[in-house]
Amino acid sequence: AGAMAARRGAEEMRERVVLGEFGVRNVHTTDFPGNYPGYDDAWDQLRFEQGFRVDVVREEEDTLEFDMVGIDAAIANAFRRILLAEVPTMAVEKVFVYNNTSIVQDEILAHRLGLIPIRADPRLFEYRNQGDEEGTEIDTLQFQLKIKCSRNPQAAKESSDPNELYINHKVYSKHMTWVPLGNQPDLFPDANFRPVHDDILIAQLRPGQEIDVLMHCVKGIGKDHAKFSPVATASYRLLPDITLLQPVEDEAAELLQKCFSPGVIEVQSIKGKKVARVANARLDTFSREVFRHESLKNLVRLARVRNHYIFSVESTGILPPDVLVSEAIKILMGKCQRFLNELDSVPME
């Protein structure tokens, strides 16, 4: 019996991150070879492949929610970091201001233009070489924004609505037009490079003011500047695991249901008594409200499954989220390959 309890304790330490009242226990991965007698923890690709699976929970135009089961925190976090900072996109980098008589300063205007997501597949372009000021057709996209605000001659005499009084007084991202460079019309005959959203307000004008700028978009990564990040956000959480250590009945069951997010605990009537049951632990956000009630504190064990990650990826619209995840995995492979090549080429002494 002592051995069984010890094994159960080891199982818990290996597979669950436990949320106690005042802190979180068993946070770090401990299943390395030699730590647990009786377990073979050496890396085995076959065992990994048998235990690994991916389930896509929800897939919409811009968001993707999927589960990765059987992988470790280090690698899941590496994917998340790459999604945020190392998947390349195209964004406005240089703004050539020919005329700007609006009240938005040049540098503020340039900053705002840089943050606009551009619908252009970055895999079709190269990175710009260091020190190259002009930009060639394989690494640069050129956009023009030329707009002038004027008074509307047909407006009523006493109206005070700016929409009626002025023409072109709001500068939206739909006013940005693509100016093909060199042989880009031949390279991209069907492409229609434009900002992802047409209704991003860039600046506001009044009659007589005009903006005339030329923009160069280049390929970059989020590590360099956050405007190049392709995701609105990419995050993951671990699958919650709620176990009731003892049966909970009647008022305690009702109270328990209120302590968790809706849908997590279900109260059923069995033989006239109300009994609580864990219906769907995945929905819980772990506010740990149970620990505030003395009567319920010891009846529940809150934990998370250590190797089950629920990823949520929201794209800004440049690339669909499933393409982003594939690109992130390929980038991690590219990093490993780079070091393998260096190991083979540089002689070690």
Binding site: Q45, D55, R81, K330, L332, M333
Partner: protein, 98 residues
């Protein structure tokens, strides 16, 4: 990549232009190797993007071997994750075609 250390069993690699992204995942893969006695990485200074990655092996195995094996294992993991992920997305695409 630079390496220095005594007698080839304990080696510190200096990886340039890397951070926790590769450092932590590579450390995990190398630790899974039963021949490795110690594996760790640290970022020398947050303003410089380089990491010190140290491997010490049991016995007489040269430390470059677990490093190479760790990189290969990590590539295998990524390849499998990519394949599984893309297969999992396929049925959706097929359904959209109909």
């Amino acid at each position: 990549v630079q390496a220095d250390g005594t007698d080839g069993n304990c080696v510190t690699f200096v990886l340039h232009d890397e951070d926790h992204t590769l450092g932590n995942s590579l450390r995990y893969m190398v630790m899974k190797n039963p021949d490795v006695e110690f594996c760790g990485y640290c970022i020398t200074h947050p303003s410089e993007s380089k990491i010190n990655f140290r491997i010490q092996t049991r016995g007489s195995l040269p430390a470059v071997e677990p490093f190479r094996k760790g990189l290969n294992d990590l590539m295998g993991v990524c390849q499998h994750v990519l394949n599984t992920f893309e297969v999992r997305l396929l049925p959706q695409d097929f359904r959209d075609l109909f």
